[in-house]
C-alpha cells in the first residue's frame, strides 16, 4: 500500500509584522517551516504505516530550502520525499498549486491514500484537499480526527461545525486532518541521522512535470491589486514579576481607567 502525505513549507504567520505607519506587510525574514498541520498529515501516514505494510511518501511544493526540512518529516518515519521547486515562492493560487500537485501525484502514484492538512498554516484557505478530490476523481473525507484502515476501507471521525460524524470510504481516497488532531511525534537523534540517508527528490515544473509557468499563470483568474496588513495598535501595558495581589489590584485599576470597571463608592 502507498500513502502520500502532502506538506506545505509554509510561512510562520505569527512572525508577520505590519508597518504601523504604512500598513505594509513586512514579509522579509518571516521564517518558513513545515507547520504543525502539515506534520499532522505526516503523523497520520506514519501511524497507519505502523499498523500496515504501507510505504509513506511526502510531497511538497516549495522552495529549495524545503529540501533540508524534508529530513524532519523523513525522520518521523516517511520513506521518501519529493519537493517540486515552486516558481511562485509560496504565493501560488490554490488552483495553480492543485494542478501542480495533481501532476506530481499522477507521476509518483497511484496512491491508496492521500493525506493533507485541512488548510495550510499560511494560506488558510482550505482548498487543496477538495480541489485534488475533484481533479483526481477521488472521494474526500474532510476534517478527520480519528483515522483507521481495515481491509481497504478507511474509517474516520469528521469534526464538523455542529457534530462529529463517523464515516467509512473505500480506498483510494483523500483525507484532510483536523486541527490539533494528530500531534506530530518527536524524533530521536538516531531517527534524524537515518533520515539523512532517505531520498529527497527535487523536481522542476517543466522538466519533471511537463508544466509551463506561462500556462499556469492563466489558471487563477484574478490578479492582486494590493496587499496590506491589519494594524494592531494595543497599549501593551505589562504586569509581571510582582506579588499577585499587587498585580490583581493594578489590573483592576487599569480596567477602571479604561472605563470597563467601576468600584463601589469610587474606591
Amino acid at each position: 500500500m502507498k500513502i502520500l502525505a502532502l506538506a506545505k513549507y509554509s510561512l510562520d504567520v505569527a512572525e508577520i509584522r505590519v508597518d504601523s505607519a504604512s500598513g505594509a506587510l513586512r514579509m522579509t525574514g518571516v521564517p518558513q517551516r513545515f507547520g504543525d498541520l502539515d506534520k499532522g498529515a505526516v503523523e497520520v501516514a506514519v501511524r497507519l504505516k505502523e499498523t500496515s505494510d504501507a510505504v509513506v511518501e511526502v510531497l511538497c511544493l516549495g522552495p529549495p530550502a524545503a529540501r533540508a526540512a524534508t529530513k524532519d518529516v523523513l525522520a518521523m518515519g516517511a520513506d521518501e520525499a519529493t519537493v517540486i521547486e515552486d516558481p511562485y515562492d509560496g504565493a501560488a493560487d490554490a488552483a495553480v498549486a492543485a494542478r501542480v500537485l495533481e501532476a506530481a501525484i499522477r507521476k509518483r502514484g497511484p496512491f491508496d491514500l492521500i493525506i493533507c492538512g485541512f488548510a495550510s498554516d499560511d494560506g488558510y484557505s482550505h482548498q487543496t484537499g477538495p480541489r485534488l478530490a475533484e481533479r483526481l476523481g477521488l472521494p474526500f473525507v474532510s476534517y478527520a480526527r480519528e483515522i483507521s484502515l481495515e481491509g481497504g476501507v478507511l474509517m474516520a471521525d469528521r469534526d464538523l461545525e455542529d457534530g462529529i460524524q463517523t464515516v467509512s470510504v473505500p480506498l483510494p481516497a483523500i483525507v484532510s486532518v483536523a486541527e490539533e488532531a494528530f500531534v506530530p511525534r518527536r524524533v530521536t537523534l538516531l531517527q534524524a541521522m537515518k533520515a539523512q540517508k532517505k531520498p529527497t527528490n527535487m523536481w522542476s515544473l517543466e522538466q519533471d512535470l511537463g508544466l509551463s509557468e506561462e500556462a499556469l499563470d492563466k489558471v487563477s483568474g484574478y490578479s492582486v491589486i494590493c496587499e496590506t496588513g491589519i494594524v494592531v495598535d494595543r497599549k501593551q501595558h505589562m504586569l509581571k514579576g510582582m506579588d499577585v495581589t499587587e498585580m490583581a489590584d493594578l489590573f483592576i485599576d487599569m480596567l477602571v481607567e479604561e472605563e470597563v470597571l467601576a468600584l463601589k463608592g469610587g474606591g
Binding site: E134, G221, E227, M238, M254, K264
Partner: protein, 322 residues
Amino acid sequence: MAAGILVWSECPALALELLGKARRLADAAAGEVSLCISGDVGAAELEVYAANGADVVYVTETSEVDAARWASVLGVVIARSRPSLVLIGATKAGLEVAPRVAERTEAAYAAWAVAIEIDPTTGATTASCMVYAGAGVAKYRFSRGVTVLTAAQGAFEASELEGRAARAESVMLPNEMPEITVLSQRTKATGGARLEEAKTVVDIGRGVKELDDLEMIRSLMSLLDAQLGCSRPVSSDRDWLPEWLGLSGVKVKPELCLTIGLSGAIQHMVGIRDSRVVAAVDNDQDAAIFTQADIGVVADLNEFLPVLIERLQARGARPIWV
C-alpha cells in the same frame, strides 16, 4: 452588464447576511439575486427570502450537508442562471464546497472576503480577502466569467426590505451514489451564549488545562458579567464548548475581552481584535497575545485568578454598565 449573484450557505443566518450583500451589489449593477436552499419552501419562507433580497430561490431536496452533493447542486444552478458572482458561507462545509464548485465551473475563487465591489459598467468584480490567516488583507481583481467568494459570518449585514417578491424554482439532480458512507453522527452540545452581543467576553485557550478550572473562570465571569469564548483547539480538541472565536469561528467586539491561557495565534485574534479593550493573562511572557493586548498579566492562572476574584469582590468592582 447585468450581474447575477448566487448565494448559498447551509447556515441560515449566514445565508441571509450574504443575501443582504448580494442585494446591495445587484441593485448597484442592475442584476438578479438568487438563493439556493434545500427542503420545503412555503409561501412564508419565500416571503422571508424575498424580503432579504432574493429574486429567485432554487430549491433542492438534498438534506444532508454533503459537500460533493452541494457542489453538484450549485453546478446545475450556475449552468442554468449563469451568475457572474457566487457567494458561499465560509463554514467548514462552505469552504469545501467552494473550491469544488470552482474546479467544476472553472471559476476563479478566493476565500475569506471582507469587501466586494462590482463595477457597474464592466461588471468586473473586485474583492478584499483576508490572507495569511487574517494577518493581512489582499485586494483582488477578477477577470473570469464566474467568480466564487466565501465570506464568514459577520463580514456582511443582512437587510430586510418590504414589498419584494421572489419566485421558487426546483432543482432536480441525477441520483448520485454518495462516495462516503455515514455510519453515525452525534451532535455537539449547544452553548446558547449570545457571544456576539456580550459586553465582556472571557476567552480561554489551551493554557487552561483542566475542565475543573472552568469553575473558577465562571466565578470570574459572573463578576465581570461575561460570556465564555474559547480558541478552536479548546472547542474542537476537547469539546468543552461548541463554538470558538476566530477566523473560522465567531467574531466578537465587546467592551472587554479577557483572554486566559491564550497564545495569540493570528487565526484566533481575527475573532477578537475588534474588542475595545483586550486584556490577557498567560504564564508565557513571550506569548504573541501580549503584543496584541492593552493590558497583559504574566502569571500562573491558578495563582492569579483566585486572587483577582478576591480583589474584585473586596473592592466591589463591577462593569460600569451593570
